[in-house]
């Protein structure tokens, strides 16, 4: 019969996915490290102005050129990673934890809490992402932390729904009934039996969300609602360079390429994590 062959093929596939996973994880870790140690590794001070060096085209000394104040664009792009990558990770962590906790509690306890929280999430979802973010940014003013709050408000329902759905499905399973018979209370039940079983789908959702959130965050900064100049952040660097697109295109291209490559890395990582978690690809 062909079962052993299928299993072997699946094992090869699984190994290939694992290699890919480690590769992209490695790239992502490098990006995160760069964003943490940005201040130490930049060749020039990203905020030091030197008007004599203003708008230099890319050269060996400044290989992404300089901006209108003579600041080194490469250093600014590296420091920009601190704002973009770090804020995005904080955003995704906070929303996924908050969404998972509320979703699990709603799914487990049901009744009034469930319907109230789900109606709130309906209202949050009734707005398209950016609109709500715009409104919150308008309310709280610009600034990176406000942009993060704005995106957090609109993105937690996604996790809450995944967690709630999974919890509802698990609640009726045999092992949960067995644990209940064994005398587990609600806290033990959620922490020991439900949470470990719903973390997979949550992790996949979160990984696939990083790229999108990074783009939305940069978009808010681009509109002037996120990081404020002179802070180096990819979105606001592009917004600042936009009026000089015709003559000094590197001012827009450098941060643009940086954000593209970063989003690509995290998206590839997210896709790989999804494939890795997919039971269809499991070798056992």
């Amino acid at each position: 019969m062909n079962r052993p062959v299928t299993v072997r093929v699946q094992k090869v596939k699984k190994n290939r996915i694992r290699t890919r996973l480690f590769f992209f994880l490695f790239l992502a870790v490098i990006l995160v490290l760069v964003s943490f140690f940005a201040d130490q590794i930049v060749p020039y001070d990203p905020y030091a102005q030197d008007l004599g060096l203003s708008r230099q085209p890319p050269s060996p000394a400044h290989f992404m050129g300089t901006d209108q104040y003579g600041r080194d664009v490469f250093s600014r792009v590296v420091v920009g990673a601190k704002a973009s990558v770090f804020s995005t990770l904080v955003l995704v962590c906070v929303t996924s934890v908050f969404g998972t906790v509320t979703g699990t509690l709603c799914g487990y306890f049901g009744r009034e809490i469930d319907s109230v929280v789900m109606r709130i999430s309906d209202v949050c979802l009734a707005f398209p992402g950016l609109v709500f973010a715009l409104a919150i940014a308008a309310l709280l003013g610009g600034g990176m932390s406000n942009a993060v709050i704005a995106l957090a408000v609109i993105s937690w329902p996604k996790y809450a729904r995944v967690a709630r759905g999974q919890t509802l499905a698990l609640k009726n399973s045999d092992f949960v009934a067995a644990a209940k018979l064994a005398g587990d209370n609600s806290a033990q039940m959620i922490l020991r039996h439900i949470l470990p079983n719903i973390l997979g789908p949550i992790l996949v959702t979160a990984m696939l969300d990083i790229g999108t959130m990074m783009m939305e965050l940069a978009g808010l900064s681009f509109l002037g609602l996120g990081a404020q100049p002179p802070v180096a952040e990819w979105g606001n660097m592009m917004s600042g360079g936009r009026s000089m697109l015709q003559t000094y295109p590197w001012l827009v291209l450098s941060p643009g390429v940086a954000i593209f490559l970063t989003v690509v890395t995290f998206n590839l990582l997210g896709d790989t994590v999804r494939d890795y978690m997919d039971p269809k690809n499991s070798g056992s």
């Binding site: 409104a135 309310l139 690509v264």
Partner: protein
Amino acid sequence: MKHYAVRRLLQLIPILFAITFLSYGMMRLAGSDVVEQKMENTGGTVSQEMIDAAREELGLDKPFIVQYVTWLGKLAQGDMGVSYVSGKPVFSTFVSKLPATLLLAVVSILLTVIVSIPLGIWSAVNQNKAADYVIRTASFIGNSLPNFFVSLLLMYFFAIRLNWFPVISRDVSLQSVALPSVTLAIAMSAKYLRQVRATVLDELSKDYVLGAKARGVKFSTTMMKSVMKASLVTIITLLTLSIGSLLGGTAIVESIFMWDGVGKMAVDAINMRDYPIIQAYVMWMAVIYVLVNLVTDVSYRYLDPRIRLGGTEQ
């Protein structure tokens, strides 16, 4: 079917109330410095009496709930107040921006449909062949490009280098709609291609396709008559979702291309702290979203007999 639509409509009422309350409350909380801002804009020194007078004129001195109810009553009559900045009625300002946003929405949706459906199907039919990989890679790249970067790239190459299109849209014309709509279509097609591909693959693996093949039905006939029809539900969901966000104007793309639509109006209003306009915009978005969800749900039932029959009311 009718009962279902009516029931869904009734369910919308509390959600709409919650949204009006939220959008009003949010803007009022932030709105304390509006009068001072307005005074600063006119210049000169401002006395406390002038500020109080202006507050009274705008009704800002009354309790919050009274203000909300007054606002809601006026809203019901189509009166959304006047813009703090231009002094023109919000409603007519809003209506004047709609045609541009509608044109942009329609053109980009058409482009998206033209690109994503055939390519998605082609990619599914040639699964794991060269064409499939190329299409999937393109879709992946499109998914990873922020739309402001796409806008600026298109602007750089097609407007500045090649000079084919205007850099800034001075009017609402087909030539100036080209770049903003292509920007939006790139992002949307990248997303929908994947979905169309997945849906078609899913349909193709079903038994009836094999059955049709065994009976000698031409593949193109199966494709057109059955697979396409079954994939329609996914495609319609995607389209309605995008129509929702497109009708709200796409703040970033509209601002970059200076496209005089609703989205750019909202961004300008936020920068000027023009609260009546922001409120109107948030309301408009909420209404669109709620209606779009309704239309999607109702059309699902109409298109998909399983949902229609499974969910008949008692």
